[in-house]
Amino acid sequence: MKIIRWPGLIAFILIFALLVGGGVLFAESIVQSMIESTLTDINGAKVDIASVQINYSPVSLSVNDIQIADAARPMTNSIQIARARFAMSGGDLLLGKLIIDDMSLTGIRVDTPRKRSGALPKTKKTQAPVDDEKTLFDFDLPDIDLPDVGEALKQEPLKSEKLVDELNLDVDKTRQQWKATRDDIKDQKRWDSLKARYEKIRRDFKGDFAQKLDAIKDAKQLRDDLKKEMERIRNARRQFNTDSERLENAFKAVKAAPKQDIERIKQKYKLDNLNTGNIAELLFGAQAAEYLSLARTWYRRIKPYIESDEEEQEAVRFEGEDIVFREFNPKPGFYVRKVAIDAEIPRGRFAGSMTDLSSDQSVSKKPTRFKLAGQDMRHRDSEELSGEFNYVKKDRGYSQFEYRIKAYQLRDFDISKSKKLALNMSSGLMDLSLSSRIQSGRINGNTDIDFSKVNFKAGTRSSGAVTRMLATAFSDIHRFNIEATFGGNLKDLDMDLKSDLDNQIGHQFKAQIDARKRQFEQDLKARIDKKLREPLAELEQKKQKLDRIKAEVDDKERELKLQLADLDDKIKQEKEIQKQKLRDKKKQKKDELKQKLLKKLKL
């Protein structure tokens, strides 16, 4: 029995040759299909390639006209690359690794139109964000009219007037009370009676002993009555002091009331809130938010290519699971050592390079870095973009960007299209420097923008005085700076904008506003003072009358004190006299007794 089937061997060789030949013939189509399929999966929208050329010695690939559709806008390519050329390592290719030493990407363009939709059949179309011009360029200004003083006073009841009326009533009532008290204290009949008694006592003190004794007794009685009068006066004084204090406080409140009325009216018309501390944020905040949104869109587009890693494969039914073993020389599935980039954008050419582009940086152990610089750029001296995607340690991975523009010529740059304040930078130069870092879904960054040789055109349809003053203030500004810091979640960024524009506008704007505010305040004060002048003068007169009543009572008190003092002296004096007389009498008697005794003894 023959064992070898020679025709079979020939058939095998022929089939093998056909397969190899066919593979070589159709390799380019196969590779094209594989690249389209792989990139489509990553991109989430169609990736179309015009043609692929393969060279086998050395192994290299040339891919022509790569169109990468934007998933959010299927009829637009986010990026279109005219040609991508790269040489690969054949050995690594057999191991399933695409390791490229040098790659060049030329003719890169962005946002080019497509002939056919790039949407995938089963994916949902995401709506591109619609620019709402109204929300971007409209904003609220403190558009306040400085009011007419007369109108303001008509609409605002003055608290000071009310206080004056209340004080008037109080003073009148108090004066009535004081008058009654004074009249009681100065009761002439009673004082005449006291005086008569005082005169009698004086006369009695000059009389005989019995009269003197009566005089002392009467004097004591009179002294007690006078003390009662004193007590009455003291009570009146205490009452007067209490009332005086109350009225004094009320007077102070009345004097302070006009100032408070002025402050209240100013507050109502927000005159103190007119400041320009937030003008830059009002004007440029919307633009900045728009640029941030654009940067977020671009980051979303490139994110799948930079943050992806080779995921562990799950077992798929009928396909099994590929068990991965240790590699002696581990390499990522896709790695490019250096990519030369040449991109055409509407404003010129961007050329540069990207290094260490890897599908898994934890294996390649090198971050991806890129640096692009503008060449032959229109309307600017230079433009540079550089950055780093460092995901070597996945849990601490970050993306970093730096962007600089020098001497960007601004022409008819609309800052605001608001009807309240339309602001256009008709010409100017801008230097911009921006740096940002994205890590763990959060972005932080800052930007510094210098504007020079600026000419503003401002217009307003508003009749508001503030807005018109603001529009005028911009015409004198030719140089300013904006510093912005932003941070937070990628979907919800906070931004803080500072600018010396606020100060510059502030100086001019503030001077105008301050002058008007001062004028308003002066007018208001004059009107209020005029309103209150007569009532206050009347109150002052009433106050003086009260003081006179008080003075009368004080005089009475002094008179009473003198009388009391005099009476006390008299009583004291008389007592002394009587005491002396008594002592003299005693002595005389003693002497008489002594004489008698001596006389008897001499006998």
Binding site: I3, L9, F12, L94, L95, D322, I323, F325, R326
Partner: protein, 168 residues
């Protein structure tokens, strides 16, 4: 499939050596049980074409075992995983994994490894069993069928001749 079966029955009845038929079946089993585009199928097909292995038996075996492969895939996956994750074999697999040719062979796929291991293990027993059964068929069964009344009746009818002619 039915025509293949008829052809196979004719082969069984032919002068072809039993070893040729059973080798064809066994090679068909390897190609049928394992994933189609696997590198190990190249030597299998080479052997098929180079050696005088019965093609009809190969095609029948391929069809039959492809059918049951779908049902047995989960089992192959488990077997393949057990073999590939065997600690004592880890160094061997690691060395093979770092060789381009072996990487192309996808030996590290659980279904490839499992189905190949089962088909290789069953190869020699199937060849031996095939030989025995073919000899038994030729010596005993075929003679019995030839001598049976039903066969003689069918063979004599015109309808049977037409049917055979159509199938040929």
């Amino acid at each position: 499939m039915f025509s293949q079966l008829i052809k196979f029955i004719r082969v069984l009845s032919s002068e072809a050596a039993p070893i040729q038929i059973s080798l064809g079946l066994a090679l068909g089993m390897i190609v049928g049980l394992t994933p189609m585009l696997s590198l190990h199928n190249v030597p299998a097909v080479f052997c098929l074409l180079l050696f005088r292995v019965n093609l009809a038996a190969f095609l029948l075996g391929w069809g039959f075992f492809s059918g049951i492969a779908y049902v047995l895939d989960p089992t192959f996956h488990d077997i393949g995983k057990a073999i590939l994750t065997q600690a004592s074999l880890n160094d061997l697999w690691t060395a093979l994994y770092n060789q381009p040719l072996w990487r192309i062979s996808r030996f590290n796929n659980t279904i490839v490894m499992g189905s190949l291991a089962v088909s290789l293990a069953a190869f020699i027993p199937l060849v031996i069993l095939g030989n025995i059964l073919i000899k038994h068929y030729r010596d005993d069964v075929m003679e019995y069928i030839k001598n049976s009344r039903l066969f003689r009746f069918l063979k004599s009818s015109k309808w049977f001749s037409h049917a055979v002619a159509m199938m040929e």
